[in-house]
């Protein structure tokens, strides 16, 4: 199963987080919201200008900018 960056995922695609490369404030923010390896996600939608992206994790919806999504590696189903 291939690893891709979260930014490359299509709407409604699902996958499991494989790694978070960000550190510092962004890394902490991502992890505080539950973006840690092993969690399943589904891309919920994209904003009209294709950025930010919204995704579903642990039963709630989260939004991320594309440049923030670049730090997240996903193993897609």
């Amino acid at each position: 199963m291939p690893y891709i960056q979260l930014r490359q995922m299509q709407v409604d695609q699902t996958g499991t987080i494989a790694g978070i490369k960000a550190r510092g404030e962004l890394g902490t923010r991502l992890r505080d919201m539950g973006l840690v390896p092993g969690k399943e996600i589904r891309i919920q939608g994209k904003a009209p200008l294709y950025d930010p992206v919204s995704l579903r994790i642990m039963g709630f919806t989260l939004t991320l900018r594309n440049n923030e999504a670049d730090h997240i590696l996903v193993e897609v189903n």
Partner: protein
């Protein structure tokens, strides 16, 4: 002395709702010392027990990266409440418990108020409360804050457990980290390093997590220990990096979530329904954030909010005006002409009227925004607009403040500045506060109307459109400029929750709206009244008596000469205005403002505009010796300007540009200072905006005159 409890929890978990259920009307809103984070306190009584409740800011975690998180954890450490009531959203248990664990690691006695039980049930989530409680070794009380269900149970539980000290939670973070922690804890304990406030293990964890606040505190208290702990942390970081390609912060978060998952898996939470079922909220989102429908709907909502704020508030604003008009009329009859009467009418009554005149606006604006915020729509709007606003160093949620301020011509910067409260990112928020006054508020419109009618009567609509365009483009460019200079720094991460759509309760909206409006009256009101009296004095003193009448105007400008030779008829009101401090300022500034095409009359009017922008029109009328000019109907002034020397389309447009950009009116300045938490920013907006306006006007005037010649 009651039992002190602090409410903590994730945003949107129902914290405010619970606070209202607990305290009812016995609450009081202020700020945490030195910061702009709102602090709500209240009392509540249940049986024989009395509770003192503090609402902590909503947070997802307790890192040192956001002001809210620092405030929450400092409060707990410094004020030592008997118990932290942690509101946990039952329909979102996994993520909410992440914060709970961090309280437990701090060794604080925590009680879980398991809220939104109704929502959880509807979603088919079944929670074994007894099991959750025994696994976490914490009291857990199921609740539905919205209906008040569980309130008494919660208070009873708090009263029962408030005195018992809980043992702090120790999560295993894997061998490498645990070993480092043990080594650090031993030394921290023996050196009593920061242990007057924090648990040794917590301090050690924060060193591994690279927590700026604790690192700074440590360095100050004991530089040697700080250096040693940092070196241990560095060694561990290097080790984890080479062996596992990870870092301590990452591993710590992983293990916390791992701990939560392991607890939930022991039969605490069972889903009786497919987890991937599409919720109603998601269906709504398919339409509301749709590529084409979304933006269209958003425009409609913004127009609706605008209509709601400014159309429906017009009636009570009218009552306010009528009342103060009536009052001024009464005083006019009672007092004899003179200084006292002028002070009472122009200083005090106009000042109080000015303060209260904004109240209906602010009330309606907060009602509208609270509604959008509580339903969850505001977050969607930020989501859709973020891409555009981010280009200028702002945030998607900035749009509200811009629209209310007059992004649709006719708003008001005062509620606009306050609307920026919905912004959680500090730098984006400050940039928003400083740029919304460029929008075309309702008070600037009479100024534009006057000038456009006098000099651009053929293209009125087009010029008005150009004005709107210039103010938007100008505001966004200045935001960009500020964000790359005085408010520098990378964008605050946009990691944001889109809460499920919910119908707000009337009570929630009413309390929220009233609270904020009252804060405006109390905090801004007094300052505004004071300044309006000062402005009155500036336009009145020094007074012109008959002696000075014969020997007028110190400055040797053309107009002064014209005045002395009697070429121009001067009425006493105009002469008195010119003689006042404001008048002298206007005259003294003429050499500079000439470059932008403004004469001293215009300068005085602009000084007056600092009180309120529409005053520009009436002051211009007085300065041009027309007596009282009604800003709504300035036909005579319009004709006067057309024939006045030095006036023409170029001068008029230069003045329009100046009006767009120069200092916000002082009510807005006071609000900016209050919202930004420092007078520095209030002063900055006055000085910076005025210089900017002068620059823009001079550049335009000089270029245009050169091109035309």
């Amino acid at each position: 002395m009651g039992i002190a409890i602090a409410l903590a929890g994730n945003p949107n978990s129902g914290k405010t709702t619970l606070f209202n259920v607990l305290t009812g009307a016995r609450q009081h809103v202020g700020n945490y010392p030195g910061v702009t984070v709102e602090k709500k306190q209240g009392r509540c009584v249940s049986g024989i027990d009395e509770f003192h409740v503090v609402d902590l800011p909503g947070t997802y975690s307790l890192s040192a990266y956001s002001l809210e998180e620092v405030v929450a954890r400092d409060f707990i450490v410094k004020e030592q409440p008997a118990m932290v009531v942690n509101i946990v959203d039952a329909s979102n248990l996994e993520r909410n418990l992440y914060l709970t664990l961090q309280f437990m690691e701090m060794g604080i006695s925590v009680c879980i108020a398991l809220n939104m039980m109704d929502v959880a049930k509807k979603r088919g989530i079944d929670i074994d409360i007894a099991k959750l409680s025994s696994l976490l070794r914490l009291p857990v009380v199921p609740m539905v804050a919205r209906t008040g269900k569980g309130r008494d149970d919660l208070l009873k539980t708090v009263a029962d457990h408030a005195k018992t000290r809980t043992k702090s939670l120790k999560i295993s973070y894997g061998r490498d980290i645990d070993e480092a922690l043990d080594e650090m804890v031993e030394k921290i304990s023996s050196e009593h390093f920061l242990t007057d406030r924090y648990l040794p293990r917590w301090v050690a964890l924060k060193y591994l997590e690279n927590d700026v606040q604790i690192l700074e505190m440590g360095k100050e208290q004991n530089p040697q220990m700080d250096a040693w702990l940092s070196s241990v942390a560095r060694k561990l970081t290097h080790h984890l990096d080479t062996t596992l390609d990870t870092h301590p912060e990452g591993m710590i978060a992983d293990q916390r979530y791992g701990f939560i998952t392991s607890i939930l898996k022991q039969g605490v939470m069972t889903c009786t329904r497919n987890k991937n079922r599409i919720e109603t909220s998601d269906k709504i989102d398919k339409i509301v954030t749709h590529r084409f429908l979304g933006p269209m709907l958003m425009v409609a909502v913004l127009m609706g909010l605008y209509q709601f704020t400014f159309t429906y508030s017009a009636v009570p604003v009218g009552w306010c005006e009528d009342f103060f008009g009536w009052l001024a009329g009464r005083v006019d009859g009672l007092l004899s002409d003179g200084l006292l009467k002028s002070l009472v009418i122009s200083g005090i009554i106009d000042g109080v009227g000015g303060v209260l005149g904004f109240v209906p606006l602010i009330l309606f604006m907060f009602l509208g925004i609270s509604f959008l915020e509580d339903t969850g729509y505001l977050a969607r709007m930020a989501f859709m607009l973020d891409r555009i606003f981010r280009l200028f160093g702002l945030h998607g949620a900035s749009v509200m403040a811009f629209i209310v301020s007059g992004g649709i011509a006719g708003g008001c910067a005062v509620p606009g500045v306050m609307a920026a409260r919905t912004l959680k990112s500090p730098k984006e928020r400050l940039a928003t506060l400083l740029t919304v006054p460029f929008m075309n508020c309702g008070a600037k419109l009479p100024v534009y109307a006057l000038l456009v009618a006098a000099f651009f009567s053929e293209n009125q609509a087009r010029v008005m459109f150009i004005i709107t365009l210039i103010s938007w483009v100008g505001a966004l460019l200045v935001a960009k400029l500020l964000r790359s200079t005085v408010i520098q720094g990378p964008a605050t991460p946009f990691v944001m929750e889109l809460p499920p759509y919910r119908l707000p309760t009337f009570k929630g909206l009413a309390i929220h709206t009233w609270e904020r409006t009252w804060q405006y009256i109390k905090k801004a009101g007094t300052v505004i009244l004071g300044i309006s009296i000062i402005l009155w004095a500036m336009m009145t003193f020094p007074r012109l008596d008959t002696a000075t009448m014969a020997d007028p105007a110190p400055a040797g400008t053309q107009q002064a000469a014209a005045w002395q030779t009697g070429e121009e008829q001067v009425d006493p009101a105009a002469a008195a205005l010119r003689h006042s401090i404001a008048g002298r300022m206007g005259t003294a500034l003429e050499p500079v403002t000439r470059l932008a095409g403004f004469d001293w009359q215009t300068n005085i009017a602009l000084v007056g505009g600092f009180a309120a922008k529409e005053v520009v029109v009436s002051t211009l009328g007085t300065a041009y010796s027309l007596g009282n000019v009604d800003p709504e109907d300035a036909g005579s002034l319009s004709e006067r300007l057309q024939s006045a020397p030095g006036w023409g389309p170029i001068t008029a447009f230069s003045l329009i540009l100046f009006t767009i950009f120069y200092s916000p009116c002082f009510v807005a300045v006071v609000c900016i200072a209050k919202e930004a938490g420092s007078w520095k920013w209030g002063v900055f907006s006055m000085a910076f905006n005025t210089l900017l306006a002068l620059g823009v006007s001079i550049a335009f005037f000089q270029t245009a005159t050169w091109v035309m010649s």
